[in-house]
């Protein structure tokens, strides 16, 4: 896709480490994962993002070998995993509950996987201590898990998985059980850790901020299907479906009819908007078809007078609601009666003592044709 070069971050590796083809998982009549094709590249920090019940954890557990696919194949480093049980796969997992063995010391927890592989005790303990230092738990070896905080337990789980030098590290909602401050700190640490060990990380999360801030690429899942796989910026700026646009960040979704679509310009008329709008877009939609304008609230400019630039899409409306969030304020503007309000986010650059606009003010909203996308589905 051409847009990837424009906004995407440079991919870490080009060779695939995980290749998933036609993967499905059914539980009775319930479809958890539905015909997923996905390639994860060597050395990247990959995120599976989606609402709860979208199948992302099932997908992760199939990679680990803890669930068996109903159909489809998984190849890890070129090797078919169909007949490989969980304990022989070159992957390790950090469980959501951490699953730290409560009856073992921290050192024995971390050394467990090595001892199982027949590494001599001394050697296993030495490497366990190294792994503990890597996750900043040096010297914690003799402690027992019930003497650790939740964050420390997670680090034990991380060290326990990393000490085995897996080809892929799987993390199931790694930050969900931590408090907000620690969560933000752990994001950086996980990214730094991944860069220093160079192992491919696959993380499952329902938190878009987490995925956007950590991952080099994200697969957005819904109802067992992958909706879109892209780097964070591409996902945000060029969502391919309404679901992705809505799930990542905040968005105005305005239904309309495509009037014309040529020369990289889509012209859309919508009942909610007084005038047809024009959006620059490579992939055209057939004229006459239904389209949805996905417009990010922070890309819309709000002003009392119409802007001079005739090239901008401009509509007029009335301020109906104002939500003050500290760093930003959200203005909800009514353009047409009986149609959804348009959200506009304005950064509060000055201290808000007197708002530039207040309830009931007539305002003009404008945005450049390069802002927003028109979606077919």
């Amino acid at each position: 896709m051409s847009t990837e070069q424009e906004v995407g971050e440079t991919p870490v590796g080009e060779t695939p480490i995980i290749e998933i083809a036609g993967l499905s998982k059914h539980y009775g009549s319930v479809t958890a994962v539905d015909d997923v094709d996905l390639t994860i590249r060597r050395g990247e920090f990959f995120a599976l993002l989606g609402p709860s019940g979208c199948g992302k954890t099932t997908l992760l557990r199939m990679l680990a070998g803890l669930e068996l696919p109903t159909a489809g194949t998984i190849r890890i480093d070129g090797q078919d995993m169909s007949a490989v049980p969980a304990n022989r796969r070159p992957v390790n997992m950090v469980f959501q509950s951490y699953a730290v063995f409560p009856h073992m010391t921290v050192r024995d927890n971390v050394a467990y996987g090595l001892k199982v592989d027949g590494v001599p005790r001394q050697e296993a303990y030495r490497r366990a201590e190294e792994a503990l230092e890597l996750v900043k738990l040096g010297g914690y070896g003799p402690r027992r898990p019930d003497q650790l905080s939740g964050g420390q337990r997670q680090r034990v789980a991380l060290a326990r998985a990393l000490v085995k030098r897996p080809k892929v590290l799987l993390l199931d909602e790694p930050l969900s059980a931590l408090d907000a401050k620690l969560r933000e700190q752990m994001r950086f640490e996980l990214v730094n850790l991944q860069e220093s060990v160079g192992i491919t990380f696959v993380v499952v999360t329902h938190d878009q901020d987490e995925a956007l801030s950590m991952a080099s690429r994200i697969a957005v899942m819904d109802h067992g299907r992958v909706q879109q796989t892209a780097p964070p910026a591409e996902l945000y700026e060029f969502p391919r479906t309404k679901f992705v646009a809505d799930f990542i960040g905040s968005v105005n979704l305005i239904e309309g009819t495509v009037e014309a679509s040529d020369d990289g310009l889509v012209r859309l008329s919508a009942p909610a908007l007084q005038v047809p709008v024009e959006i620059e877009q490579a992939s055209g939609l057939p004229a006459g078809s239904t389209g949805w304008l996905a417009l990010r609230p922070e890309k819309v400019d709000i002003s009392r007078e119409p802007p001079d630039d005739a090239g901008r899409n401009t509509v007029a409306g009335t301020v109906e609601e104002i939500t003050y969030l500290g760093d930003v304020s959200i203005f909800h503007v009514r353009l047409t009666a009986d149609q959804p309000l348009i959200k506009v986010t304005i950064a509060n650059l000055d201290r808000v003592t007197r708002r530039p606009f207040t309830w009931g003010d007539r305002v003009h909203l404008s945005w450049a044709p390069t802002c927003g996308v028109v979606l077919a589905q």
Binding site: L66, N87, M93, F101, P102, Y112, V116
Partner: protein
């Protein structure tokens, strides 16, 4: 129950009857037996409490010590077999679909709904020379012989001249079979309780780290089920040690346990002082076993804090 101080009347009304019950029907008889164990026989039924230790000295006679020993072996074997059989059962119930668990647990405790005596007689019908096990074996023996005749090998009598039934009843094996049958639920239930609390992801983590199914079981499931194993072992071992009906009905002449000896002292031998002494000796041994267990738990708990 912190509020009982503020409501002493409720406390006494609800607390007094059970206390009185325990005092009257448990502690007082127990004290009587204890006192009797220091008595001497005077004539056929009269006894005199003289404070003698003769009954205890007699109880330490090799003849009785051997029976004590045999009781411990029976109870120990019963505990071991119950554990080996009970663990897979408990594990299977825990891993069964949720809606099946209640039914399976019910099946485990179902034997309790029938009287022990009737269940033991039923077991006799199963194990005796002309019982269901031997009937089944004989049926197979006949079918096998018929097949051999068809093959023209009938005259060689490869399976013996006629069917020899297995002697399954009235021996030590029958006693252990019976004791396991009676006590298995007491092992399964505490095992189930502790396995049910086990976090599944711990087993998955062990597998994920490369452990085989067996290694995950031995290094994760068993250590974490240890409280259940200990509770189950105590719940099986102590009643099995004092069993008297099972060895009485299923055992042979040499498979009597200490409770059978005690019973005989109180009934046919009419030597209450000696029976009392044996009873208390058994109780002291049981307390000893419990004390060992308490010592063990304190040590492991201490390790936890170290």
């Amino acid at each position: 129950m912190e509020s009982w101080r503020r409501n002493p009347l409720v406390f006494w009304v609800t607390g007094l009857p059970p206390t009185a019950w325990l005092l009257l029907f448990f502690l007082v008889p127990l004290a009587l037996v204890w006192v009797l164990s220091f008595a001497e026989l005077r004539g056929v039924v009269e006894m005199e409490v003289t404070g003698t230790f003769a009954n205890y000295v007699r109880a330490l006679d090799p003849l009785y010590l051997q029976i004590f020993g045999k009781s411990f072996v029976f109870a120990g074997l019963t505990t071991l077999v119950s554990l080996v059989f009970g663990f897979p059962v408990a594990l299977a119930i825990v891993f069964a679909p949720r809606r099946w668990r209640a039914v399976l647990l019910l099946l485990v405790i179902l034997p309790f709904w029938t009287n022990l005596l009737i269940r033991t007689y039923a077991l006799i019908a199963v194990l005796r020379t002309r019982g269901f096990v031997n009937f089944t074996l004989e049926w197979f023996w006949e079918k096998a012989n018929a097949v051999l005749s068809l093959l023209g090998l009938g005259s060689f009598q490869l399976l013996g001249e006629r069917f020899e039934p297995l002697e399954l009843l009235y021996n030590n094996t029958a006693v252990v079979i019976g004791l396991v049958y009676v006590h298995l639920p007491f092992m399964v239930l505490p095992l189930y309780a502790s396995l049910e609390k086990l976090d599944r992801s711990l087993i998955e983590a062990a597998l994920d780290l490369g452990a085989s199914q067996f290694r995950a079981f031995a290094t994760v499931v068993v250590p974490l089920a240890l409280p259940g194993i200990i509770s189950g072992a105590i719940l099986v071992f102590i009643p099995a040690l004092g069993s008297f009906l099972t060895p009485d009905l299923l055992g042979g002449t040499d498979s009597q346990m200490i409770a059978n000896v005690i019973e005989r002292q109180f009934k046919s031998a009419n030597d209450w002082p000696f029976g009392s002494a044996l009873s208390f000796l058994l109780m002291y041994l049981t307390f000893g076993a419990l004390a060992l267990r308490a010592l063990y738990t304190r040590r492991t708990a201490g390790q936890g804090r170290a």
